[in-house]
Symmetry: C2
Subunit: 459 residues, 2 copies
C-alpha cells in the first residue's frame, strides 16, 4: 500500500530500544517507517552505570547521565517518544500493544508491523524488602538515584549505611557512600564480594574495600528489616541485627520478561528472551528483542547467558535497528568482559571463572602472575595481578582476570580479543603487545601469565 508507512513500536526507551529506533530511522525515513517508543519512566537513554558516581558526588548533575533526551529523539530522529507510558499488554494476533498513560491516565492502543521488546531488567527484590519502609533504595533508575540522594541530603541525615549484595552495583555503591562520609557495611550471602571474579582475585578487592573503611560481612543472609516511625532502623540478619539509617539493595537484576511471557514470547534457559543472531525472536515474525531482557550466547561456554550491561544493550539495539532498517548485522555473542574500579583498585575480567569452567565441563589449568603496570624502574610502577584459565590439554584460553592499582582494568580488552578469537596460551606468548617503560615491563604482564600457563600445561 504505497503511501502508508509501516509502524515500528519500541517497548522501553533506554539503550537497546532507542538504539534500535534510531538505527532503523537512519535507514528508513518517515514516509516509510513510523517509529513509536513507549517508556515507563521520565527518561530515555541514560547511563544506569553512572548512578553510583552521581551518588558519590563525582558526577554533580543527574542530567549528565542522560545521553539523549526524549525531545532530542523527537527532533533529531523523528521518533514519537511517549515517556510515562507503560505497555501493559502485547497482542500478537491483532499485532497491537496496549499502553497506560501513567500521568494523564487512560490507555493507548497502537498497532505495529514491527515490535522491539526492550524492557530491560528489574532488580531482584527479596521478600523482606517489599514492605514500604522509608530509607530502603534500589539504584536501577535515575528516579531511584534521585530518591536516594534526597534521603541522604535531608535531615535527619543518615550516617550508617548497609549495602545488601556485593556485585558491581553493591560494591560501587558501598564506595560511593563511604565517599559521602557514611559508615558502610556490605552484607553478602556468599563467601566473598565481587563474585564475578574468582575468590583469590576477589580477596584483593575485599582488601581494597576494607582499606577505605568498608566493613564486609560475608556468609551472612539478610532476613528482614526493622523500622521506627516508618523509617528504616536496622537490617535483620541470620547473625543478628545491623543498625542502619539507609539501606541500598544491590542483589542483581533479572530480565524483565513479564509482558513477553504473557504474550507467549519464548524464554531461554537463562530466563532471558530468546533471540537469533539478528535479534529476532525466533518463531514470532516481526518481533525483535534486545538489551537486558534477552539472553546472549556465551562464546566460550557455548551456553546462553543473561549479561545485563549497557554496552551489550547498545550493540544489540543497533543490530536490531540495522536489520529492521533493511541492512544486515548480527550480534555474535559475548565473552563476559567487565571492568570496574573499586576504591582505586582496578578490576577486569573476561570469559569463564574457575567455577564456570567446571560447570561447563572443561578441564583446565589456572595460573596467576604478579607483575607491574610499568617497567619496574619507571616511577609509579604498581602491582598488577593477571590470572589465566586455559583448557587442558588444548591450551585454549577460557578466561582471564586482572587486578591492579593503576592502568590495569582496560588491559583485559587484549585478553577479551584473544578469547574472542579462540587463541591458545601458547599462541598468546608471541602476541605483539605495546612495550615502552611507562606502559609495561619488557615482558608484558599478559605475556608473563601466558608463559606461565604454557608451563603449567606442560606439567
Amino acid at each position: 500500500m504505497s503511501g502508508v508507512a509501516e509502524r515500528m513500536i519500541v517497548i522501553g526507551g533506554d539503550a537497546a530500544g532507542m538504539s534500535a529506533a534510531s538505527q532503523a530511522r537512519r535507514r528508513r525515513g518517515r514516509a516509510e517507517l513510523d517509529v513509536v517508543a513507549f517508556e515507563r519512566g521520565h527518561f530515555t537513554s541514560y547511563s544506569a552505570c553512572g548512578i553510583p558516581y552521581w551518588i558519590s558526588g563525582l558526577v554533580p548533575e543527574r542530567d549528565q547521565l542522560v545521553a539523549r533526551t526524549p525531545d532530542a529523539f523527537r527532533d533529531e530522529y523523528d521518533i514519537d517518544v511517549r515517556t510515562r507510558h507503560e505497555v501493559t499488554a502485547i497482542d500478537l494476533d491483532r499485532r497491537e500493544v496496549v499502553a497506560r498513560d501513567l500521568d494523564g491516565g487512560g490507555e493507548v492502543r497502537a498497532g505495529f508491523d514491527t515490535l522491539v521488546y526492550a524492557t530491560g531488567a528489574t532488580p531482584v527484590q527479596p521478600e523482606w524488602a517489599r514492605d514500604e519502609v522509608a530509607g530502603v533504595f534500589g539504584v536501577q533508575t535515575l528516579d531511584d538515584g534521585a530518591a536516594l540522594l534526597d534521603w541522604l541530603e535531608h535531615e535527619p541525615r543518615p550516617r550508617h549505611a548497609v549495602v545488601v549484595g556485593g556485585g558491581y552495583v553493591g560494591v560501587e555503591m558501598a564506595e560511593a557512600l563511604v565517599q559521602r562520609g557514611l559508615t558502610v557495611q556490605l552484607v553478602e550471602q556468599a563467601a566473598q564480594p565481587m563474585a564475578t571474579v574468582d575468590p583469590d582475585m576477589g580477596e584483593l578487592v575485599a582488601e581494597a574495600m576494607r582499606g577505605v573503611g568498608i566493613s564486609i560481612r560475608t556468609g551472612m543472609t539478610v532476613t528482614g528489616l526493622t523500622e521506627r516511625d516508618g523509617r528504616i532502623a536496622a537490617v535483620v540478619t541470620d547473625e543478628g541485627p545491623i543498625p542502619a539509617d539507609v539501606v541500598v539493595l544491590g542483589l542483581g537484576v533479572r530480565p524483565n520478561t513479564a509482558l513477553a511471557e504473557a504474550a507467549g514470547l519464548p524464554l531461554g534457559p537463562s530466563g532471558g528472551i530468546r533471540v537469533d543472531r539478528r535479534m529476532r525472536v525466533p518463531g514470532v515474525p516481526g518481533v525483535w528483542a534486545a538489551g537486558d531482557c534477552v539472553e546472549s550466547l556465551h562464546r566460550v561456554s557455548g551456553m546462553p547467558v543473561h549479561v545485563p550491561l549497557g554496552t551489550h544493550a547498545n550493540k544489540q539495539g543497533r543490530v536490531a535497528g540495522i536489520n529492521i532498517g533493511g541492512g544486515y548485522a548480527t550480534f555474535p555473542g559475548v565473552v563476559g568482559t567487565a571492568v570496574t574500579k573499586v576504591c582505586e583498585l582496578e578490576v577486569g575480567r573476561t570469559g569463564l571463572r574457575e567455577r564456570d569452567a567446571v560447570e561447563a565441563g572443561f578441564e583446565f589449568v589456572t595460573v596467576t602472575a604478579e607483575s607491574t603496570n610499568r617497567a619496574g624502574y619507571y616511577p609509579g610502577a604498581r602491582q598488577m595481578t593477571v590470572k589465566l584459565i586455559a583448557e587442558r590439554p588444548s591450551g585454549r584460553l577460557l578466561g582471564a582476570q586482572i587486578v591492579g592499582w593503576s592502568e590495569a582494568a582496560k588491559r583485559i580488552d587484549a585478553l577479551a580479543v584473544a578469547l574472542w578469537n579462540g587463541m591458545t596460551v601458547d599462541e598468546m606468548t608471541a602476541l605483539d603487545l605495546g612495550y615502552a617503560p611507562p606502559y609495561a615491563p619488557v615482558w608484558d604482564p599478559v605475556l608473563i601469565a601466558a608463559r606461565k600457563a604454557v608451563d603449567a600445561l606442560s606439567r
Copy 2:
C-alpha cells in the same frame, strides 16, 4: 662422547642473547651444556628503552636499568659471561669464534657446537657525525647515557640542545632534555616527527611537543657540525646553522651484521639476518640469531621487516633458547605494535600506516574517530583519537593508531590482537570490550572507529 658437554656460544649479552642463554640453561644443565656469552660492553640485559628516563632524571640510577648483572648470570644460571670481550670473527668451518679482550688485551678462541648471534643494532651514524667533536651523543648503550649525563652535569653546563631525528628515541630525548631545563630544537628531515604514525596523527604529537616548548624543525637536513676548542658549537643545516652546546643523535638503528656478513650468514631484504620461525639461521646448522640484528615477518604485509625492540628481542631469544634446550617454540612474526609517551600525550600504533599499506599494494579505507577515554560525564575524561586502516573490500584490519591524553596508549593492544587474528572491522564492531564509566564511554572508542570503518567500506 659421554661426559663432554656441548658448547653454546652467545655473541652479545643483551636481551636476546641472555634470554637464549638462560632458556637453554633451564632445560640443559652444566653437564650437558656449556654456555659462554661474549659481550663487548660492561653490562648485560639492560633496558636501552629506559635511557631517556634516566637522562631526564625520572629514573635516578643507572643500575635501575640493569635487569640482571653478569654476576647474576654466572651465579644463578652458570653462564660464563665475558664482558668487554668483542667477537671479531666467526669461523663456520672450524666452528669457532675469535674474541678480543678489550681491557686485558689478547685474544680468545673458543669452539662452539651451537652459536647464537645476538649483536643487536648500531645507531645510524651520518658522515658529519663521525669526527670526534665533544658534546655529540648517541643514546644506544648505558655507556652512551653515562657520557651524555656527564656532559650535561659538568661546567660549562650546556643550555641549548639539538636533537637530530624525530623517531621514538629523538622525541623521548627531546622531552628528557626539556625536563632538564635545556632549550631543545628537534631537527627532522621528513615532514613530521614521529613518522611511525601517519601525518594526521603525527601532527597531534608535534602539537604536544610544541606545547612543552620543543621547537620542531621539519624538512631540514643536517649537513655538518661546527666546533670551538673541540666542543660542539652548532649544527649546520641546509637552512643555516643552529647553535648548540649538546647534540643528541636519534637517527635510528641498523642491524649489526658486519660479523655475520663476514662469516657468510644470509641477510634478508630488510638488512637483518634471515631466520626461520625457530630462530635458526637457514642453511647454517647449529647457528641461531635473535634480537635487533635479525629481520622478522610482518604478519600483515607478509614482508620481512627490521623492528628493533626489546620485547621482540626477549621473545626471540627465549624461542631460540627453548629450541636449543630441546624444546619447541616459534616466533611467528610481528604486527608492528609500539607505544610511547610524548610530553603526557600517549601514542600507540600497530600494523600498517597508510604509506605501508600503499607500498604493500593494499586497497583500503581509513577512518578517524574522536572519543574519550572515559564516559563523557566521568571526571577526567580526555580526548582520544582512534584511526583505523581497513582493506577494501574485505574489511580486514590493516593498521590502527591511537593518540590520547590519558590511559590511551595501551588500548592499542586490543587492536594488535585483533590484527594478529586477521579480524575484519565488521567483526570488530561486536567485540566484547570492558565497559564502565571510569574506563570508557558505553561505545568504546575502538568500537566507534570500527563502526565508522564499516560505514566507510559500504560507500
